[in-house]
């Protein structure tokens, strides 16, 4: 198992290299001149522009720029944005916000998604089951930004239950954006739990558990649920990796200063170092949580062993 994890971790290195080069090239290919854009209405003098270009290696060909970036990275230097702020500072500043948002979202997925799924799975064909089916279908078919604005308007403006934007009220500020961010996966978790539980309840070993004279609570809560949650847990694990990197829209709608917002702003300003640094981090999260899921899978299902 240890060797397997080590091998998988080593494999992330080429993936990260490839991903960062790809992102680097895409930022490079963006139309427009980032340095000229810096000046806005008051154009910078030619000398200043040339100096800035030299400072950010913008005159070099793509590959040289990338290699210089890598050389810095190896020494722990993530580069700086155009205002001279180290990218690492931005990341360390914004990461906790994004992590908090992702955790709140995953919390909702677990709490609401699994609960709804279990209840629907236990009462197949009931009113509640159909309610879950219809509401999850509705949720997955609405784009996130629509859902975000809708939630903002209803719960923030109309009802006034939650802050409309920003993170000034601590964890409470994360509830509404967390719910919006979770919505899609939550629907999926509910469906997955429902189907998985319904299937396991029909299984032979559940019949055996009943034949052993176990209470219905033990039969369902222990024997059936333990097996049903294997795919659910692995989905949530993989989703955590995606949530950490995919909150751009939600963070923008709710004006939350997380990594998603940072990368969005950096793309607009064509700040290559910032974009590459953060997006590569996203890629790393994604790969890392996929590895966590694979390890978790083996822990949850004894039939799976990695050599």
């Amino acid at each position: 198992m240890g060797r397997y994890v080590l091998r998988r971790l080593l494999l992330t290195v080429p993936v990260l290299l490839g991903a960062s080069l790809l992102i680097f090239a895409m930022v490079y290919a963006l139309p427009g001149d980032p340095i000229r854009a810096l000046g806005g209405d008051r154009p910078l003098s030619e000398a200043v522009q040339a100096q800035l270009r030299a400072e950010y290696n913008l005159d070099d060909p793509l590959l040289i720029q990338y290699l210089k970036y890598l050389a810095g990275l190896v020494q722990g230097d993530f580069g700086t944005d155009f205002s001279g702020r180290p990218v690492l500072d931005t990341i360390l500043d914004r990461l906790p916000v994004t992590v908090r948002l992702a955790l709140v979202a995953v919390g909702f997925e677990i709490l609401i998604g699994i609960l709804a799924g279990v209840l629907a799975g236990l009462r197949r064909g009931s009113f509640f089951d159909n309610l879950v089916l219809v509401s999850t279908t509705v949720v997955v078919s609405i784009p996130v930004f629509v859902l975000g604005f809708l939630a903002q308007y209803v719960f923030g403006v109309r009802l006034g239950w939650f802050p409309i934007a920003g993170i000034t009220q601590g964890w409470y500020s994360y509830v509404l954006p967390g719910l919006v961010l979770a919505a899609l996966s939550l629907a999926y978790v509910a469906r997955l739990t429902r189907t998985s539980l319904a299937e396991n309840l029909q299984s032979d070993y559940v019949r055996t558990a009943r034949a052993k004279g176990l209470s219905e609570t033990t039969v369902v809560g222990k024997h059936a649920l333990r097996n049903s949650l294997i795919p659910v847990v692995t989905f949530i694990g993989a989703d955590l990796g995606a949530l950490l990197g995919g909150a751009i829209v939600t963070e923008s709608v709710f004006n939350i200063p997380g990594l998603g917002r940072a990368v969005y702003d950096a793309v607009l300003r064509q700040e290559g170092a910032v974009v590459v640094g953060i997006v590569t981090l996203f890629v790393f999260f994604y790969i890392f949580f996929n590895l966590v899921v694979d390890v978790l899978y083996a822990a949850l299902d004894p039939r799976i062993r990695y050599e």
């Binding site: 032979d204 019949r207 055996t208 034949a211 333990r226 097996n227 004894p302």
Partner: protein, 352 residues
């Protein structure tokens, strides 16, 4: 025809007839309902099992033999299944009118079951020790440690080598035969009065089948439990059973001691089953299967359910009055003292 079976083993443990049966199933009927149709899987079957006795329930797939056993065990999925009539008396008390809690107290210590496919019948994510020990923890309030020790003891008792090392292994790490032994260990854990074995050897290879049947017989001799053996293997029936009930399309069509039924079947279906068995004497000949297929339970033929496949069915003017096989349902009746069969023309088979 009857000579195709090996002669029954001479020594059988004959239970004292005065002793009341441990389990009595009386006129049990089970239906499966779906939106479109209703299927009668079991139509009023009755049987009883005494301590130390083995009753074999024989029939083709879909004859209702497993459904009946699952009803006794209380593990039918309700709905779609529904018990429409009958009583299942365990030590005189009707299981069907008991509270759920009382029923649960019977499952395990009173009646236990061995399933056909141990791989799917054991929970893949718990160790075998945990699954065996669970019975002691739930029914006897044993601690984890005690339950584990009991599990090891039981695994040794059912002949699993190196039980102490294997107690923490998972079901998939055992071979088919060993898994079935785990299943048996679980079933006999609380010394049940009745053990239901639902085709316990069907999923196993032939060499292992005999070992498992031997184990079951040996455990039965040690504990004196009654056993219901559900099978379609008449060879096994001949070796281990005391009495046999033959089922067809949800009904019992013949009932009697193994020696008598196998020596002289009183129902053409039983006769057909025996003729379809391979034997040493018929070596080289073609087998004689019962022609046709078991009936669709949602459209059981009128009259005798077996009549479309029966070689001696009589209709219209060829039939005796009130004995038209396609119109009159034959009831299970005593044909000779101590033996029942549901055929209008059993007497002719008897004198054959």
């Amino acid at each position: 025809m009857t000579s195709s079976l090996p002669t029954p083993a001479p020594s059988r443990t004959a239970p004292a007839p005065a002793e009341p049966p441990v389990l009595e199933v009386d006129d049990l009927a089970v239906e499966f309902r779906s939106r479109r149709r209703t299927v009668s899987a079991v139509n009023g079957i009755s049987y009883s099992v005494r301590a130390g006795e083995t009753l074999a329930v024989v029939g083709e797939s879909g004859s209702g033999k497993s459904v009946g056993a699952q009803a006794v065990m209380g593990i039918l999925d309700v709905p779609p299944a529904r018990i429409t009539s009958g009583q299942i008396r365990f030590r005189g008390d009707d299981l069907l009118t008991m509270s759920r809690k009382e029923q649960r107290a019977v499952r395990g210590p009173g009646i236990a079951m061995v399933f056909q496919d141990a791989l799917s019948a054991l929970n893949p994510v718990f160790t075998v020790g945990h699954q065996i020990g669970e019975l002691f923890r739930v029914h006897r309030g044993a601690s984890r440690g005690e339950a584990r020790e009991k599990a090891i003891e039981l695994m040794e008792r059912v002949g699993i080598p190196a039980a102490r090392q294997r107690v923490d292994a998972y079901p998939h790490q055992f071979s088919g035969g060993m898994r079935q032994r785990v299943m048996i260990a679980m079933a006999i854990a609380l010394d049940p009065d009745i053990l239901i074995a639902d085709e316990p050897t069907t999923a196993l290879d032939v060499t292992v089948q005999a070992q498992i049947m031997d184990l079951l017989s040996e455990l039965q001799r040690e504990t004196g439990m009654g056993m219901i053996l559900i099978t379609h293997d008449l060879g096994v029936v001949n070796e281990v059973a005391d009495r046999v009930a033959v089922m067809y399309a949800g009904s019992i069509v013949e009932n009697g001691t193994v020696d008598e039924v196998l020596a002289e079947p009183l129902h053409p279906y039983t006769q057909g089953l025996m003729a379809s068995m391979p034997s040493l004497e018929s070596h080289g000949d073609r087998l004689n299967p019962v022609t046709g297929t078991p009936p669709d339970l949602s459209a059981v033929p009128s009259g005798c359910a077996f009549h479309p496949r029966c070689p001696m069915a009589r209709f219209g003017r060829a039939a005796a009055p009130g004995k038209d096989c396609a119109r009159n349902v034959p009831v299970l009746r005593e044909v000779v003292p101590g033996r029942t069969a549901a055929c209008h023309y059993s007497e002719e088979l008897e004198h054959e």
